[in-house]
Symmetry: C2
Subunit: 335 residues, 2 copies
Amino acid sequence: MQKVLNKQIVLEKRPVGKIADGDMRFCEQAVEDIPDGAVLIQNQYVSIDPTHRIWMSSMRQYMDPIELGAVIRALGVGKVIGSKDSSLKAGDIVTGELGWQTHSVRNAKELFPVKMVPEPLSSLLSVYGLTGVTAYFGLLDIGEPKAGETVLVSGAAGAVGSVVGQIAKIKGCKVVGVCGSDEKCDWLVNEFGFDAAIQYKRQNIPEALKESCPEGIDVYFENVGGAILEHSLMQMNQFSRLVLCGLISNYNLTSAPEGVKNFAQILMQRIKVQGFIASDYLSRWPEAIAELSSWVQQGKIKYKEDIVEGLSQIPAAVNKLFDGTNSGKLMAKVN
Amino acid sequence: MQKVLNKQIVLEKRPVGKIADGDMRFCEQAVEDIPDGAVLIQNQYVSIDPTHRIWMSSMRQYMDPIELGAVIRALGVGKVIGSKDSSLKAGDIVTGELGWQTHSVRNAKELFPVKMVPEPLSSLLSVYGLTGVTAYFGLLDIGEPKAGETVLVSGAAGAVGSVVGQIAKIKGCKVVGVCGSDEKCDWLVNEFGFDAAIQYKRQNIPEALKESCPEGIDVYFENVGGAILEHSLMQMNQFSRLVLCGLISNYNLTSAPEGVKNFAQILMQRIKVQGFIASDYLSRWPEAIAELSSWVQQGKIKYKEDIVEGLSQIPAAVNKLFDGTNSGKLMAKVN
């Protein structure tokens, strides 16, 4: 086998505030032997997610922080180009934690072989991957929406939020999305079928919530935190559910966040608040993907992707997640 | 029937900070006719609870605030002394919302007849009433403790907290209580069987939590809020449960509480936080009372009561709930 040169992005130092170029470093490394039980993967797409900002920090988090000097952790989809495990052969498509790099050597047991390869391949990282599955389990398992209930989604034009809203519509709910531009509001209502959209930068949030959720909020799918969370808590119904998926408004703060002032409403309205990450449901991903696939084929779920070309574009792309300029599942095509 | 003079406490104005004498007013009123379907009750014990401070405020809460000029709402136990309903007769013991007053006229349908009257009668407001049932459903239904897990209880020497800890011990958990005096710490460990107690006024809370919960916190039964909540969130385990029963440290604040700064840990550790009140479980109270009764008879649960004599003592007694001088279920004997 020909020697492979692997290009990588490693964590150089922990960001303060927004991720800066100097926080990461590009490097190259020749791939040495593939150990027994492992495979060499030519990565195709690698995921760029808000959670990267968490992983780069040293805060108490749901996995270990990325170590300084290590390749940046990331989900990815790739093609096996060398194998020392009988379960995988060259040409097989796999997903798993592949990292921000052009090639990965991984133990076969850590990978998920893809038997039915969808079109486009990138959908394995969006609607049939992290973001679709996050929307599916968060809304259905934790949010427990019932037909006729009102579902509010923050970060609604994002890769997760837009799918959450569409699943909630499939389940017969009234769906309201919160986003940061008039163009995104337009997508939510006219493309993704939301009943209403709130532009939080321009509108008075409490008034807009009252107007669009006149019967209160039964399920709040939270991606953002901050002011939207505070105001939503004041309009959540008794026995409502707050699905805590993300708090992206906090991730770039350089000091402690302000604190959730309306926390007592969780008691007063007997709200269930539950945090989750999609990997908690790993054993049930096939169930989610099968159902999402059927909805996509029936035209009931649309999804957007935002694909940058090449590993070198990742540092510039990652901050788009935090300034509102990104739309659709962000990822990089690295081969 | 002889005319009955009913002594009452009504809400005069909404408290600012601690409840002040002028916030309430005593009055007397002759009981007129009993309407059809209703009964006249001579109240025996009426409950004094932290939630009174919530009901007296106009904050967004789980029931309507008490209206100005209305009798202060309260659970109570009393004896029927006049009846215009075939389901109840003079001498019957009932519980229900009887109010801070010596007598109540209530529709029979709103009352709970007590068939097996326990000794002492006051236990219908403590271990066999609001506080016992609150501990039971909050811990078991929301906290879902498993044998071997670590359960942390704040306000642990209170009427709810002390029963929570004892039920958790019955379920095979390691139990740590947080309270505000050395004497209460001593009770928790030596009388109620807690494994450890933290005196939050004297000890460094994060260090004490680390020492007493070396394997982290699996269930946190929250009665207090504030600093204890912040520090506990930092030591709660993945997939742990936070039972939100009360936030007594907030109730007398004259400005908005500081806000929960470590809210993101709910996401990071995938914690379930759920608010509840005992009346949400009304249809299942008999199940709780039967089991509590069996535990009390087996000596597995001990409980304390703090009974003041006469309606006139209530205004002085109610603030004991907030300054830590009360221990055991607080109530007034009014007849």
